[in-house]
Assembly symmetry: C2
C-alpha cells in the first residue's frame, strides 16, 4: 500500500470543462453525447483538435447497451483527434473518476501534454428491469448477483443499519433528496429540475424497504468532459486553471456483508485519506463537495467517511443546513446524482466539471461563496468497494 506518495512529478490542471444536459435524451446516441461534451470542453479551453495526445473515455455499459466496443477509438474518429492515444476505462459507476485519474497520470508521468477525459452513458434506451439487471453485474457473481441483489437492495440494507445504529430517520434521508432537488432547479444541466417536498419524498413509492424511489437517483443519459494539461502550461489556455491537487483511490471487500463494518465505506475513507495526504490538506480545507448520492443515504455516509463529520453525525449536518448551498460546507450544489442525474460513466467527470465551475465562480444561480478555493469529489463503484476521491484547487492570480 502507498506508504508515501512521492508527490506528483508534474502538477496537473483542468483547463476546460463541458457537459451535455443530463436526462432522457431519446434521439441521441452515446457517441453523440460524448462528442457534445468533448466539443464544449474544447471550446471552453480554446484548444485545437490536433493538439491532443490522449483521450480517456469513462463508460460502463456501452458494449451491452449500444452494442459498441472500442468507444474511445470511435470518439477520436468522430472528432478527428488523430493520432491521439485513446482508451476506455470501466470501473462500474466510478468509471468517470477512473478516467480522470488515468488522464492525470498520463500528464503527470510526462507521456502526455494535453488530455481529453470524457465520461458518458446511454441508459434510458433500456427498460428499468433490464437496466437494473445490467447494473447489478458489478456485484459479486456468486454472493450477490445470482441471488438477485440489486444496488437498491444493498442501499436499503445500509439505510436500515444507519437508522438502527445512529438514529438516522427517514426524514434525514428525505432531507438530502429535497436539498439536492432544490439545487438542481438552479442547474440547467440537471435531469430533475423541480422542487420536491419532504412529504412527497416520504410518501414516494417503496423500492426496497426502507428505501423509497425519491431516495434513489433517476436513470439518465449524459456525458461530461474535462481537459487536462501540465499546470505550468495552463496559462496558455486559461486564466482560471483548477489544479488536481489530490487523488485517492482504494478498494474494499466486494460484498457488503464481508466488510469489517458494513456501515463504514472503507474504500471511501482510504481514498479520502490518500487524497488529503497528496494535497497536504485536512477535511477542514475543503469548501465544497460533490458526493456520490446514487441513494440519498450515501451522501450522509460519505460525508462522514471522507472526514467532514464524525461517524454517525452526518445526518445532523443535514438537519442543521450545513450542507445547503449557503451552508458552511455545501454538498452536491449540482443537485448530485439524485437530481442532476447519474449516467454512470459520466458521473465522476460531471462531479469534476461542477467543482471547476464552482471554483471558477461560474456556477450561476447555484454559485456557492466566491471565496471557495477547494473542492472534493467522491465517486464510487460497486456498492462502495472501489472509490476515487479527487481534490481540486483554484489557482488564482
Amino acid at each position: 500500500m502507498q506508504e508515501a506518495i512521492l508527490g506528483v512529478l508534474r502538477r496537473v490542471a483542468v483547463i476546460g470543462v463541458g457537459m451535455t444536459r443530463f436526462g432522457k435524451l431519446e434521439d441521441r446516441s452515446l457517441m453523440d453525447l460524448l462528442a457534445e461534451a468533448s466539443i464544449k470542453a474544447m471550446k471552453d479551453a480554446g484548444v485545437d483538435y490536433e493538439e491532443f495526445d490522449s483521450v480517456y473515455v469513462g463508460n460502463m455499459l456501452g458494449s451491452v447497451v449500444e452494442r459498441q466496443t472500442a468507444i474511445a477509438t470511435a470518439l477520436v474518429d468522430r472528432l478527428s483527434l488523430f493520432p491521439a492515444a485513446a482508451e476506455t476505462v470501466e470501473n462500474g459507476p466510478a468509471a468517470g473518476a477512473s478516467a480522470v485519474k488515468n488522464g492525470f497520470q498520463a500528464v503527470a508521468s510526462g507521456l502526455a501534454d494535453l488530455v481529453l477525459v470524457v465520461g458518458g452513458e446511454k441508459m434510458t434506451s433500456l427498460d428499468t428491469a433490464t437496466l437494473t439487471d445490467y447494473i447489478a453485474t458489478m456485484t459479486h457473481p456468486e454472493a450477490e448477483y445470482m441471488h438477485g441483489a440489486t444496488l437498491a437492495s444493498l442501499a436499503a440494507l445500509l439505510m436500515k443499519l444507519y437508522e438502527q445504529r445512529y438514529g438516522v430517520t427517514e426524514e434525514h434521508v428525505a432531507m438530502v433528496a429535497v436539498k439536492n432537488h432544490r439545487n438542481a432547479l438552479k442547474n440547467p444541466y440537471a435531469h430533475l429540475r423541480r422542487e420536491i417536498t419532504l412529504e412527497e419524498a416520504l410518501q414516494s413509492k417503496m423500492v426496497a424497504e426502507p428505501l423509497r424511489m425519491y431516495y434513489s437517483c433517476p436513470i439518465s443519459d449524459g456525458a461530461a468532459a474535462a481537459i487536462l494539461c501540465p499546470l505550468e502550461k495552463a496559462g496558455k489556455y486559461t486564466d482560471k486553471p483548477v489544479e488536481i491537487k489530490g487523488i485517492g483511490h482504494a478498494t474494499d471487500y466486494q460484498t457488503l456483508h464481508e466488510r469489517e463494518d458494513p456501515a463504514v465505506l472503507k474504500s471511501c475513507k482510504y481514498a479520502a485519506e490518500q487524497a488529503y495526504r497528496m494535497a497536504g490538506l485536512s477535511p477542514k480545507g475543503i469548501d465544497v463537495a460533490e458526493l456520490h448520492d446514487a441513494f440519498s443515504i450515501l451522501e450522509i455516509v460519505e460525508s462522514e467517511d471522507v472526514g467532514f463529520f464524525k461517524k454517525g453525525q452526518g445526518h445532523l449536518a443535514v438537519e442543521q443546513g450545513v450542507t445547503e448551498l449557503d451552508g458552511v460546507l455545501p454538498i452536491n450544489p449540482s443537485g448530485g446524482l439524485k437530481a442532476r442525474g447519474h449516467p454512470v460513466g459520466a458521473t465522476g467527470v460531471a462531479q469534476v466539471v461542477e467543482l471547476v465551475w464552482q471554483l471558477r465562480g461560474e456556477a450561476g444561480e447555484r454559485q456557492i461563496s466566491k471565496n471557495a478555493k477547494r473542492g472534493l469529489a467522491c465517486n464510487f463503484g460497486g456498492f462502495g468497494n472501489n472509490t476515487l476521491v479527487h481534490i481540486l484547487e483554484a489557482i488564482r492570480k
Copy 2:
C-alpha cells in the same frame, strides 16, 4: 500531438510475469484465469499481496460474455489485494497493451510504486458466430458493423491489396502461419501446439477470399500478467529487471476505406515512431518482436510499419527466414496470436510476458539468442486504428 515526450519522469521496470496456458479452457471463468496469471506473476516477482498500489485489468468482452462488470474490483476481492486501486481498461484487442501503458503511467507519475497489470479474456464459451459478431462491435457502427463487416473480412481486403500491390503471394502469408505454429510447438503456454505444412495451410477452409482459416488466429481463453515498479526499486525483487523503455500509442481513421493509404497501418507507424523516440532507439536496435498477427498478413504489414523492413518487403524477410527463431530478427517466438492464441484482452500483456522471458533468457526451447537485449511488442485494436507499441530492454548487471 506529442511534439516531444519529456522523457519518463520515473523509469519503470517489469519485475515479474506469468500467464495461463491459452486454449479452450472449459471449466475456468474469466476471473479464474485472471487470478491464475496474477498469482504466477506475483510468485515470479516474489511480492506480497499487501504491497500493491494499483491493479489494471485489460479486458474487452467480460460484460457481455461473463455478464460481469467492474472486473478489476472483483479481481482485487478474489486475491485480497485491498486497498489497491483498480480499474479495467477496454481498447478492443489492444486492451492488454493499454493496461500495460496505464500501469506504466501510474508508476511513472509517482502515484504508485507497485502495479499489477493483467489482461484476460474468456471467449470459447460462445459459439463462433456470436463471438464474431461481438468482436465486430469494435468496427464503425454505421460504415462497417451494420453492413456485416467482420474483422476477417477487413483482413481479407488488406491481404488482397498486398497481393496486388506488392507481389505478396498466398504462400508468403501461409509461411508466416507455418513459422508461428512451429514456434508455438516450443511454447508450453500456446493454444495450438502442432506443426502445420505449407500445403495444409494453402488448402485450409476459405473464410473470406483470399483469407483462409489457417491465416487466422484461433478463438482462445487465457490471461497474462506483469508486475511493474520503479526501476530504482526493481533490485529488491529481481536481479533481472526488464525496463519499459519506450511506449507509443496512436489512432487512425476507424474505417479502412477512409485511411490515407489502406495498405499502411498509420497508427502502427506513429506508435512505433513514438516508442523509438522515447527509447532513443531506431528499429535496428530491436532484437526480437511480438507482432499482432490476428491474421497472418498483419505480421508482414506490421513488420514494415514498425520500421523493420521497407514497405512492401516484409514478405521477402519471411521468405529469407529473417524472422525465424534463429533468424536475424525473430518475430513472434511465442507463436504469436496465430498459434499461442488470442484471448483479446490478454494479448497485449502476453506479448510483454514473452519478451520478458526472452530478454531474461528464460524462454526454454524457443529461446532466441541469449544476447538479445531489446524487444518490441505491437498490439492493435480495431482493425489497425488504435495501436500500442512497447519497447522493453533487459537491464544487465
